[in-house]
Symmetry: C2
Subunit: 164 residues, 2 copies
DNA sequence: TGTCAATAATTGAATGAGCAGTAGTTGGCA
DNA sequence: TGCCAACTACTGCTCATTCAATTATTGACA
């Protein structure tokens, strides 16, 4: 949610027409629209929102299907306090479990339960199809490659936007 | 916010490696990271969030610097009720004004005040520079063109994701 | 003209997210 | 050994957003 204002090519000094302008608008709209659809469908099909799938998928990808809160925070776009309560809800639904960390009593390890694993697999497959349908198929192979190539920098470098 | 899970190229059936995969991830991360930075800076500099700038810019671009709530809803990614309260806040800050619509007493027209216009101009210029710095400059001219070309469909057709 | 479904916008209740502050734990160093 | 700053995670408060219900108005049609 999101700046989506019009930037028509004209002479307005507050609306300069640049090359990257349309690229940015495309990125903004593509992510907003696809995510909105994905959110709606996931909620309808699985009964939980995208934020849950994000957490489940992070855990799934982690060694031993578990991560500490801190690690989860780094990998998601959440703040710590947001994550605490998000994990609360997912745990209450039985899809993850909090475990203590050997050797550090401050820490908490969040791990997928077998039910969480099952729901993840199920949800992810459908989610994947949806992204393919709503995003992938709307691009030619060349376009897919070009976009991937142009934007890899945004998820590769950690140097982007460190708070201050 | 948002699904950002890892999809490493491997043999996992729930993590098929496809061409559009990296493109989608790029779109997702680019918008999330740039928006996060933009939000922070705008708030620090102007004292209002991106949602306000979005509304101000829509009004600025509209004929007579005003729009009805309904039109604003179509142009933004908000629900009607969300907009009502968003406009409440912006109005309380004196940047927009609610006016009655001639010939339809149900309707409300939201218009920029002169202060709103001033704040818009000021904020937008800086916002524009920020997007250029955080997004535009990270792409070569060819990449800018390729991304713009690949993604225009997402803001041109209205056919995308109509609620059912 | 009177009725009533459709439309414009707002409001109430509930949910989700962030910031700032807190409690418990750890590790280094005097 | 004892102290203290740093770290991990959680909690209180507040704000922003949505869904569903509500109010006011309109326009079409009998």
């Amino acid at each position: 949610m999101v700046y989506s204002a019009g930037m028509e090519p004209n002479d307005d000094p507050t609306r300069p027409a640049t090359r990257w302008n349309d690229a940015w608008r495309g990125v903004l709209f593509a992510s907003a629209k696809v995510l909105r659809t994905a959110e709606r469908e996931l909620l309808a099909r699985e009964g939980f929102p995208l934020t849950w799938l994000d957490v489940l998928a992070q855990l799934y990808d982690a060694p031993g299907n578990g991560l500490r809160m801190q690690e989860l925070e780094e990998r998601s776009l959440f703040t710590r306090s947001g994550l605490t309560r998000l994990v609360d809800r997912i745990e209450a639904a039985g899809l993850v479990r909090r475990e203590s960390v050997a050797g550090d009593r401050r820490g908490v390890r969040v791990a997928l339960t077998s039910e969480g694993r099952r729901r993840h697999d199920e949800a992810f497959v459908e989610h994947f199809r949806l992204i393919e349908r709503e995003f992938g198929r709307r691009l030619t192979p060349n376009q897919q490659e070009a976009v991937a190539d142009a934007l890899t920098g945004f998820w590769h470098d950690e140097a982007t936007a460190p708070p201050e």
